[in-house]
């Protein structure tokens, strides 16, 4: 992850002082990455957006609790990871309206064919990711899609570097088994 340490701390300080602009800047800086993370954790665009918003609302109320032990980015991803786990638990308990029917927003200028191909790839990968446990998926998503170093993943998830490596290793084993079982691998590629 790109480090923006002192700037981030300054933004948190502004949020603590009740400066809406500080929270707005933090949103601009981290919302894209957090949305990517929540989207892959939840596999549902609407839920991902809501959880991402929830992260920023929590940051406003918890800014004073940030103790600086982990970087601000790790702290934000930790809040997002917890919020995703809560959401998945809640969704498992309650019957929810099927939100997966909601169309993904299409990038401007994207053609129909590439949209279909992109949707198929997304479905194949998401299907595979959904077979992972929350713990494995968090570690893998942070490593693969966010380029986060193991040590930072460990800080974010509150586990050891060894545990991070184990989770990623097991996640990859599960995915290999998933793709080698059917034709999903070919469909995805």
């Amino acid at each position: 992850m790109e480090s923006k340490g002192s700037d981030d701390l300054e933004l948190l300080e502004r949020i603590r002082r009740g400066d809406t602009g500080g929270a707005g800047e933090l949103f601009e800086r981290y919302a894209p990455a957090l949305l990517r993370f929540t989207d892959r954790m939840l596999s549902d665009r609407a839920s991902a957006e809501e959880v991402t918003q929830e992260v920023f609302v929590k940051v406003i109320s918890r800014a004073h609790q940030y103790d600086g032990r982990a970087g601000v980015a790790s702290w934000l991803f930790a809040i997002a990871a917890n919020a995703c786990r809560d959401r998945r638990r809640r969704d498992r308990r309650a019957m929810v309206v099927p939100l997966e029917a909601v169309a993904e927003p299409r990038a401007r200028g994207e053609g129909i064919e590439s949209t279909i191909a992109s949707r198929q790839r997304r479905q194949a990968v998401r299907q595979a990711l959904s077979e992972l446990s929350d713990e494995q998926r968090e570690a893998l998503v942070l490593a693969r899609y966010h380029g986060m170093p193991y040590a930072e993943i460990a800080d974010t998830l509150g586990i050891s570097v060894g545990a991070v490596k184990t989770r990623i290793f097991r996640a990859v084993e599960t995915l290999k088994a998933h793709f080698s079982e059917g034709e999903s691998w070919t469909a995805a590629t």
Binding site: G18, T20, A23, G24, F27, A31, P32, L35, R36, D39, R40, R45, A46, S47, A48, E49, E50, T52, Q53, F56, V57, I60, S61, V96, V97, L99, V102, A103, E104, P105, A107, S118, R121, R122, A124, V125, R126, L140, A143, R144, Y145, G147, P149, Y150, K165, I168, F169, V172, L175, K176, F179, W185, A188, T189
Partner: protein, 331 residues
């Protein structure tokens, strides 16, 4: 390095975590081991496949909604909950009242004319009372005497504070005009209702002032003990329709939702569901409309809820709430 270590180091390499020495060792092993080369190839393919999953992007709508929500959260934290004022002066005022009563008694006992001194002056801090008044104004009890407030001249009240309902359901409204005034009565009494509506719609200049006025009304009607007066419904409806502040609109919606729904309130909620920018306000509208439709389903409500339940542009919470509300309505 033996074959058992390859997977781990290969993953480290893919994740950008392998150091130079490990990478060299891995390459040397792969050069001489066909099985491990195949395994490395499979891992690389998998890593590549994962990378083909397109990233979610922040749309302008999501950005706008989120920044609104952030602003609203700050606002919510700024609006302090209403707490009755500490009455540190009450013992002194009670003592003063007793002295005044004693003095009047003394003068009466001495048989002196008392017209100039013994008028029935309510003293601040004494038991509150509602006073019957002409329809043009509202009753007030002040430390200077009883009179009728003329709202038609749009007076500017400052330092407005509210006292929650007492055991008789009478609320207190205090404000400064030229002197400190206190009006006491039940919110459904026309004069008190007019004053509350006035404070809400014409006097309040800040979100905090409006929120406090709405909170008093909600607190009172939240018990379901009384029918809302048309003045208050009209003032809250106007606030829900027009107030630029989402926090204030949400409070107005909450207050309206605590009333028995009338055609006017239903219309305001239908409009809020369609056009209010704030999802929290729309959620209140869904709840209120659904509660009313459970008792007497109407076509406009059902059509609006249906529309919201399938609207892909709508906030997920609102969509889900509208869908579950429809399930609960028998039609």
């Amino acid at each position: 390095m033996d074959c058992r270590d390859v997977k781990t180091i290969a993953l480290d390499r893919l994740a950008g975590e392998a150091d130079e020495a490990s990478r060299r060792e891995l390459s040397a092993h792969l050069a001489g081991c066909e099985n491990c080369r195949r395994e490395m190839g499979r891992l690389e393919d998998l890593w590549t496949v994962l990378g083909t999953d397109p990233d979610a992007t922040v749309t302008p709508e999501f950005r706008e909604r989120s920044l609104e929500l952030i602003e609203e959260e700050f606002l919510r934290r700024r609006v302090r909950e209403f707490r009755p004022r500490t009455r540190s002066v009450r013992p002194f005022l009670q003592a003063a009242a007793m002295l005044a009563a004693g003095a009047v008694g003394y003068l009466i006992a001495r048989g002196l004319p008392s017209s100039s001194t013994a008028s029935p002056t309510p003293v601040a801090g004494s038991a509150p009372r509602a006073i019957a008044t002409p329809s043009a104004g509202v009753a007030r009890a002040s430390n200077t005497g009883s009179a009728v407030l003329d709202l038609a001249s749009s007076p500017r009240f400052s330092n407005v504070s509210y006292r929650p309902a007492d055991s008789d359901g009478r609320v207190g409204i205090e404000f400064d005009v030229t002197t400190r005034q206190t009006v006491v009565g039940r919110p459904e009494e026309p004069e008190v209702a007019r004053l509350l509506a006035y404070l809400l719609s014409r006097n309040a200049e800040t979100a905090g002032e409006k929120s406090r006025a709405i909170a008093l009304v909600s607190e009172h009607y939240g018990t379901g003990s009384a029918t809302a007066s048309p003045e208050i419904v009209a003032a809250l409806s106007a606030t829900l329709r027009k107030d630029p502040n989402p926090g204030v609109r949400k409070k107005a919606a909450d207050a309206l939702a605590s009333f028995a729904i009338t055609p006017e309130i239903r219309t305001v909620f239908l409009a809020a569901l369609v056009s209010d920018k704030n999802p929290a306000v729309r959620l209140v509208a869904v709840d209120a409309l659904a509660a009313a439709a459970k008792q007497s389903p109407d076509a406009a409500t059902i059509a609006s809820l249906r529309e919201k339940a399938v609207d892909p542009q709508e906030n997920g919470f609102v969509r889900a709430k509208a869908a579950s509300a429809l399930k609960a309505i028998s039609f």
